[in-house]
């Protein structure tokens, strides 16, 4: 019993540390794509945490929405961002926010 508890504690500690580590990696990764992939991994790990915390409903929601859909959204956004870069470099990008007056063309 004692050993089991010890083992469980070790598991918890490792899980928590991995979670924090992944979050840190996702937030500091110099490459955006890597950051997003790490974030998705983070989401999946969160799902594991929810299972561990006896919250299977949340785990399902996290896996499907938090990691899955959010991840898909992030990836597609990144690809659009990349396309924009190609496009804007073609069109002499206008890279400063123009101090335009509030638009009145509604």
């Amino acid at each position: 019993m004692e050993a089991l508890t010890q083992l469980q504690l070790a598991f918890d500690v490792v899980l928590v540390l991995t979670l924090l580590g992944l979050a840190w990696q996702a937030l500091t990764s110099p490459e955006l794509f890597r950051a997003i992939v790490l974030f998705i991994a983070f989401g999946l790990l969160m799902a594991l945490v929810w299972v561990r915390l006896a919250a299977p409903d949340v785990a399902l929601a996290e896996a499907a929405i938090g990691a899955g859909l959010t991840g898909a959204l992030l990836l597609t956004t990144l690809s659009k961002l990349a396309k924009q870069t190609d496009k804007s470099s073609r069109e002499n990008n206008k890279d400063i926010i123009a101090p335009s007056a509030a638009s009145t063309d509604e």
């Binding site: 409903d57 399902l60 499907a64 898909a72 597609t76 396309k83 924009q84």
Partner: protein
């Protein structure tokens, strides 16, 4: 500057940690109440009971949040490249979609059905449905242009509207909004969940797509 920021945040974290550790070591929260009333809630999964009965009003507004986010995304118009067709999917993706989409739809149906008893429910099911939609979009499939206008919109608001209508109906019989008679609660929740799953799935897929497909057509 960053050091100062770090110090501030660490101080905040320390305070928060202290506050959390000072919480009572045991607390059942509201679980006494949720268990007590589970029999008349219409479902047996306590989380579903909270989501679709005890605190159904939150869920109702949350459907509003999802729809609102979609409205917001659509109001932003085309995002420069959003309207560009993705490059033709490779055969792998195409085949994958053909296999996975039906499976996902079945999983979604199961999750929504099972949500009443075991983990699962409208949001999880809706998300899986949404994933199916994402896959279809990635595979290059586009919604038929005849369905793009009103029919699509109706399917998006269906969950919210039926939720509200069911909630309102019983107001006429001297009950409060969203107060389900226990004997019908199960059926009603199933009805609401089913349509909500549909709306959530379509909304999530639409969020993935980006701009309003109706405008993209033009």
């Amino acid at each position: 500057m960053r050091l100062l920021l770090m110090a501030l945040i660490i101080a905040m974290a320390a305070g928060l940690a202290y506050a959390i550790l000072s919480l009572p070591a045991e607390s059942a929260g509201l679980s006494v109440y949720t268990t007590e009333n589970i029999a008349i809630s219409g479902v047996t999964n306590p989380v579903t009971a909270v989501l679709l009965n005890y605190r159904a009003y939150d869920t109702f507004l949350e459907l509003g949040v999802l729809l609102l986010a979609l409205l917001g995304v659509w109001s932003l118009g085309s995002t420069a490249t959003a309207s560009q067709r993705p490059s033709a999917p490779g055969p792998v993706l195409d085949n994958l979609a053909r296999v996975l989409v039906p499976i996902l739809i079945v999983v979604a149906g199961y999750l929504f059905w099972a949500g009443a008893y075991i983990p699962g429910g409208a949001f999880q099911a809706g998300a899986v449905l949404g994933a199916a939609g994402v896959l279809l979009i990635l595979a290059g499939w586009r919604i038929n242009h005849r369905l793009v206008g009103l029919p699509l919109r109706i399917s998006l608001v269906l969950g919210l509207v039926v939720f509200a209508v069911v909630g309102t109906l019983f107001m006429l019989t001297d009950r409060q909004f969203l107060e389900f008679p226990p004997q019908y609660a199960g059926v009603l929740i199933l009805l609401i969940e089913g349509l909500a799953t549909l709306s959530i799935g379509i909304a999530l897929a639409a969020l993935f797509l980006g701009a309003d497909p109706e405008e993209d057509d033009n």
